[in-house]
Amino acid sequence: MTMTDVAFYLLSGFAIWTGWRVFRVDSMIRATFLLLLSFTSVGLIGLLLSASYLGAATIFMMAVEMMVMGLFMVMFMMNPAGLNPMMMVHQHRLSIVAGLLIFAAMTGAVLLTPLPSDPVAADRPVLRDLGIELLGDSMLIFETAGVTLLATMLGAVVLSSRRGRFGPTDAGSVPPGLSAGGPPAGRQPKGGGSHGGHGGHGGHGGQGGKGAHDGHGGGGSHGGHGKNGGDGNHGGHGG
């Protein structure tokens, strides 16, 4: 057994163990990053198997994806920060049956398929071949899949974020005022929707405005009433 074999078995074991732990921990953030560890092990196995680009790209993509996924889960679910214990699995009986069936099917497929033995020559420009494939014959497939996935992600965010905390977000929902009938609490996004589409994610609560600090109103100044369009709306905590 060479060092590569040892590393392969260790990484495979770690990938399986972390994959199992994903379903045993009680927090979304922990589950997310355990999944990342599992994928990272698979990426490192890719590096071992001379798929140097795909291995490194797997780690790269999964790190970003898991980070974003963890944040979005925390954002859209009822358990902010994910430190409070919660049950991460449900429909136990159905999922056990489904899991066993899928495991049997996939294992069967692997064992029954006559896998080719076609070692790649060491001097073959694998990276170049991959680039030609991605931007040549398969370009249409990859571009179609990419745009479809992007549209799906945007659609999912739009659909799931419509019902905001203070009513439908597209109906100009605002938080209630600090005093009865007063202006809405918190900073207001800049008027006219001129905010850069990418920049501030205008709809999400406190991100929109330009002034970062509430409550800097010095010398008894009393900001926050009247016009809402200003750049740095002070939160009305007169010094």
């Binding site: 590096l47 790269f60 970003v64 963890g70 920049g199 330009k210 970062a212």
Partner: protein, 304 residues
């Protein structure tokens, strides 16, 4: 290079780099605010001892494992980055034909490590720092991707060894003048410094490390400095010709260039103010990212 010789050499260089980073940061910081420089070379070491003896604090119901591991991840990523840097022709500890991509992966995992460091204490300031950093750290990583791809276009390879060799005639910093300034921003974001320090800044009472005391604090600051060394070495390799240079041996040239980049980063850290998060996001997406596209365009036209 064999692992038995290479790894101790690399760790020794990293140790010197860590000390240099801490001393530079102290000295330049004091110079800029007009205080006497004093014993800037030994003060960081004294601070380490003092912090080690300080009372150890804990929060309520933290994630102990991740709190412990986060500085380890961060440090490990720095070691991986440094191991990808060639010290002489064809001599890097990790010999990989896609080292630029692996460095990109390390950058992506840095965001995860910093987030976990802020998330695991289960306390408000670290958590805010963690979320804020992700919002800034992810788009900054896009900048890094574009400038590093631009740097590897003249080499026609994603291998840092080939990237250095392609700079024998002309360094990338002259061939692609926009690359290095943008990458300095990336370095500051990776090491939580100055205008890009949205994780550990003073306005959050220390952000993700607000609850760190004693050894935890030392571990996190050490990892930060290690990442500074690694990222500066990558910058020197990708834009300043790495080990290339007359008379002196290659590793010494690389160290000098790394030190030069480090001085620039530390100066920027202390001289450039930090913006509100929303304004910084606008700057990154509306200004810096198009400049990175331009850099890629220049590199592509240069290659044609």
């Amino acid at each position: 290079m064999s692992l038995i010789v290479g790894l101790p050499a690399l760790l020794a260089l990293l140790l010197i780099g860590l000390w240099a980073a801490a001393a530079l940061d102290t000295a330049i910081g004091r110079l800029i605010v007009g205080r006497p420089v004093g014993m800037a070379a030994t003060d960081p070491l004294r601070a380490v001892v003092a912090d080690y003896l300080r009372q150890r604090t804990d929060t309520e119901a933290p994630d102990h494992l991740n709190w412990l591991l986060a500085p380890g991840y961060y440090f490990l990523l720095a070691v991986v980055g440094l191991a990808l840097v060639p010290f002489a022709p064809d001599q890097s500890l990790i010999a990989l034909d896609t080292s630029v991509v692996l460095w990109g992966a390390a950058e992506a995992v840095v965001v995860v490590a910093v987030f976990l460091h802020g998330w695991s204490p289960n306390a408000p300031f670290p958590l805010i720092g963690a979320y804020r950093y992700v919002a800034i750290g992810l788009p900054v990583m896009l900048l890094s991707m574009f400038v590093l791809i631009a740097a590897s276009i003249p080499a026609q390879s994603l291998d840092l060894r080939a990237v250095v060799e392609s700079q024998r005639g002309l360094w990338n910093v002259i061939r692609q003048p926009l690359g290095l300034p943008l990458f300095l921003a990336v370095v500051m974001s990776l090491t939580l410094r100055g205008p890009f320090d949205y994780a550990d800044s003073a306005d959050l009472a220390g952000g993700t490390s607000a609850e760190d005391g004693g050894p935890r604090w030392i571990a996190w600051q050490t990892a930060r400095a290690a990442m500074l060394v690694a990222a500066c070495a990558i910058a020197a390799t990708a834009f300043l010709g790495g080990y290339l240079g007359p008379v002196l041996p290659g590793w010494l040239w690389l160290s000098l260039k790394t030190l030069a980049v480090m001085v620039a980063v530390v100066l920027l850290t202390h001289l450039v103010p930090r913006m509100p998060v929303a304004r910084m996001l606008t700057l990154i997406w509306i200004v810096l990212l198009p400049i990175a596209f331009l850099d890629l365009l220049i590199a592509g036209l240069g290659a044609l």
